[in-house]
């Protein structure tokens, strides 16, 4: 995100707020004001996206027209160019009316920030506006069967053919690869270099001949993840982000954004309503069940403090005082808390929560899904090792 924001006066911000309120009143459809932020209501966009309703489509188009799908991105790349202070106002006003997020995507959370940092101007102009408008849906090709926590040992390889690479190999845990239009992938382009130094960051059209996907059925019954196979896939040389064989730098930068997203920055694991209110709404006796109440209180205290920490790091970034390896901490704390939160929701739901499509809807599936939170994007143990090494300076 851009640093060195201009300082705005209180009256400027209040004018922005007033204008925004009027715009939201005129443009946010009533259907999009229920504050929901779950798998069934998310708008992911992309060439093959089927809008759930005309309101979802209208809301995306209205926001995209103003740059509000990516409020902090520069205007020329499809954003609204908001300052950090304006963004806070924007989030607050969206929350105030319970507005749904108009668009979520890996393009917004991960590829976009990486392109803003490492991309050429041509790449930014080519790729960022379609992400902002929800026209192209991206997926992430990082992990492989033999490269999980030890990601840099990846073996998918790209052979240099002059004006293009020929890519062969297999990725795994590629979220929504079967629905995506394109993939950003880590590919080994120098097999002789040390493992971190021979990797390039490539953009690959999923419609290229030789790309195929196979969904993986998870314990939740759903298949958000796929295996993705590359069989003699031609990738133009122009599709590299950053420098050849230095893709690890891009990968790491992107991972910090992914971790912030998982911890609550984009997808909002911790966003939204208070746990106690959610519990009470679904019939749990939060006041009378002392065990549940005590656990919910602790969960809420921690959720609020982690939320403030996310805000603090964003404020620091806007003020130009970087947050270093904070994303590892946020990812670890946010995901572990989210798992606890869903354990509580299951306990509160009792036997009603045990039916796949019972009175509490998809609560069990959501609970099972959260178990991946502390694995995907770097396990909790990897996060703790990052903190130990880079923040605490412990040996080894």
């Amino acid at each position: 995100m851009p640093g060195g924001d201009i300082v705005q006066s209180h009256s400027e911000l209040e004018q922005f707020r007033a204008d925004l309120r009027a715009w939201l009143e005129a443009n946010c459809p009533a259907e999009m004001r229920d504050g929901r932020r779950d798998e069934t209501t998310i708008c992911w966009g992309g060439k093959n996206w089927n809008f759930a309703s005309p309101a979802q489509k209208a809301w995306l188009e209205a926001c995209a027209g103003k740059g509000y799908t990516v409020p902090r991105w520069p205007v020329e790349y499809g954003g609204a160019g908001l300052t950090r202070e304006e963004e806070k106002v924007f989030r607050a006003e969206m929350d105030r009316i319970g507005a749904r997020s108009p668009l979520e995507s890996f393009g917004i959370w991960m590829l976009g920030p990486a392109l803003l940092h490492f991309g050429s101007n041509e790449q930014k102009l080519q790729y960022l506006p379609p992400i902002a408008r929800g026209e192209i849906r991206w997926c992430q090709g990082y992990s492989e069967p033999g490269a999980g926590s030890d990601l840099a040992s990846l073996q998918t390889r790209g052979e240099d053919m002059g004006d293009h690479w020929v890519v062969n190999g297999q990725k795994v845990w590629t979220s929504y690869a079967d629905k995506a239009d394109a993939i950003f992938a880590l590919v080994r382009t120098d097999r002789d270099a040390r493992k971190h130094l021979g990797i390039s960051f490539l953009l690959i059209d999923m419609n290229t001949p030789g790309v195929s996907t196979r969904p993986i059925k998870l314990i939740s019954g759903a298949s958000p993840f796929c295996e993705t196979f590359f069989d003699d896939v031609k990738v133009p040389k122009a599709n590299i982000v950053g420098t050849e064989n230095r893709g690890w730098d891009v990968a790491k930068y992107l991972l910090t954004h992914e971790r912030e997203m998982i911890s609550g920055g984009g997808g909002g694991l911790l966003g939204g309503r208070a746990l106690g209110a959610v519990l009470a709404d679904s019939g749990a006796d939060v006041a009378g069940d002392v065990t549940l109440r005590a656990a919910a209180m602790t969960c809420e205290v921690d959720a609020m403090a982690i939320g403030l920490t996310l805000e603090r790091y964003k404020d620091q970034a806007a003020a130009g005082t970087g947050a270093g390896d904070a994303s590892a901490m946020l990812k670890y704390m946010g995901t572990e808390l989210n798992k606890q939160r869903h354990e509580l929701l299951m306990a509160a739901g009792g036997s009603d929560a045990l039916e796949w499509d019972g009175p509490l809807g998809g609560r069990a599936a959501d609970w099972l899904r959260t178990k991946a939170n502390s694995i995907e994007g770097g396990t909790s143990e990897v996060m703790l090792s990052i903190v130990s090494r880079r923040v605490l300076g412990l040996p080894g």
Partner: protein, 371 residues
């Protein structure tokens, strides 16, 4: 929403405080006081006054430095790192904030006496083993134009040496806050031998006479004055506890680098690395809640209850974790009196109880969040 960024001024204040306290009040200072049976250092308090710390929340017109709540938190955090013994929170934060709510001529004179270091205060509030202002039972019975206060207060932190006492008592139609000279007839102080070696007393009030001049704020409505003072105190205490946690954590990570077993620093073992890293994460999250409480008190003190209770709850949990992990990762030496970690553990336990424990504050957070 105020920015959650530590300002350059705050960093400079912290550095200056650290420089002073490392000389004047390292943990060895507390140990020295304890070993000689003392619970205060009057010279240290005078130095804090000369640096403007005692007047951190007092208007310049009353001789204060008016730096605000976030700055008070910065000072408290630094004091917490080396377990500084002083009536800073009782006097410069709680009493000063209460007196500022009143701000008449008498209150301004009292503020000036805090700012210049000539008077210290203690808050006589608790009556049972748990913080519960609403449950105050000590009575102030009507007696002519005034009152007679009778009852027992306990865990009056800094109350053994304080010049003045803020006393909450039940009057005809509510709770009233009195500001009394600690030496007034009928007041008996019983300084207790506390686990953290600091000043705390049980105080008996036996038909203590008080007049309207002794009342802070309005009769039967003492909480209007006391509530902001408690919130300011809770936020500063949370900041102090976060400093305590940071101090214990720093000792622990250094030990992990220095101590060798099996021929290598024990900090190279992943089991200990992950314990330490988890603790750092907790400290970092708590720091946000502390900063947020200070910012909220400075920008919108009437709406700070959630921010303050969040800070005190998080600081309590984090400080206790830091000392428990501190002793465990130090091994046997952490159990010895000759080593400082025990001081941190005992202060954390006392601070956890003072001005409301984890459950008290987590309940307030829950109430704000609708359950």
């Amino acid at each position: 929403m105020a920015k959650l960024v530590v300002t350059e001024e705050e960093t400079m204040l912290a550095d200056a405080a650290r420089g002073f306290l490392d000389e004047a009040a390292p943990v060895a200072h507390l140990r020295g006081l304890r070993d000689s049976g003392q619970t205060r250092d009057a010279a240290l308090w005078r130095e804090m006054a000369s640096m403007g710390w005692t007047g951190v929340l007092i208007p310049e017109a009353a001789g204060g430095s008016a730096m605000g709540h976030a700055a008070a938190g910065v000072l408290a955090h630094e004091m917490g790192k080396t377990l500084v013994t002083s009536p800073f929170i009782s006097s410069a934060v709680i009493a000063a904030t209460a007196l500022r709510q009143v701000a008449d001529a008498r209150a301004n004179a009292a503020l000036a006496s805090i700012a210049d270091g000539t008077a210290t205060y203690a808050l006589a509030l608790d009556e049972g083993s748990k913080f519960n202002p609403a449950g105050t039972e000590m009575t102030a019975r009507r007696d002519g134009n005034g009152w007679q206060l009778t009852g027992d207060k306990t865990f009056v932190v800094d109350g053994g040496h304080a010049d003045r006492l803020l006393v909450l008592a039940r009057t005809d139609d509510g709770l009233t806050l009195f500001d009394l000279d600690a030496g007034r007839a009928g007041i008996t102080r019983d300084p207790r031998n506390m686990i953290d070696a600091r000043d705390a007393a049980r105080v008996r009030f036996d038909a203590v006479a008080a007049t309207g001049d002794d009342v802070l704020g309005t009769v039967d409505d003492g909480m209007t004055v006391l509530r902001p003072a408690l919130e300011a105190g809770q936020a500063a205490l949370a900041a102090e506890m976060s400093g305590l946690a940071a101090g214990a954590f720093a000792m622990t990570t250094q030990y992990l680098k220095d101590r060798k077993q099996f021929g290598v620093p024990i900090g190279s073992f992943q089991a200990l690395q992950h314990r330490a890293a988890h603790l750092w994460c907790e400290l970092e999250v708590t720091a946000s809640a502390i900063l947020n409480a200070g910012r909220q008190l400075d920008s919108d003190p009437g709406d700070a209850s959630l921010a303050v209770s969040l800070a005190k709850a998080r600081a309590t949990a984090t400080a206790q974790l830091a000392v428990i992990e501190g002793v465990q990762m130090h091994g046997g030496i952490g159990m010895t009196d000759a080593f400082d970690m025990g001081f941190y553990m005992k202060r954390a336990r006392v601070s956890a109880e003072w001005l409301g424990d984890y459950g008290y504050h987590a309940s307030i957070v829950a109430a704000h969040r609708g359950f």
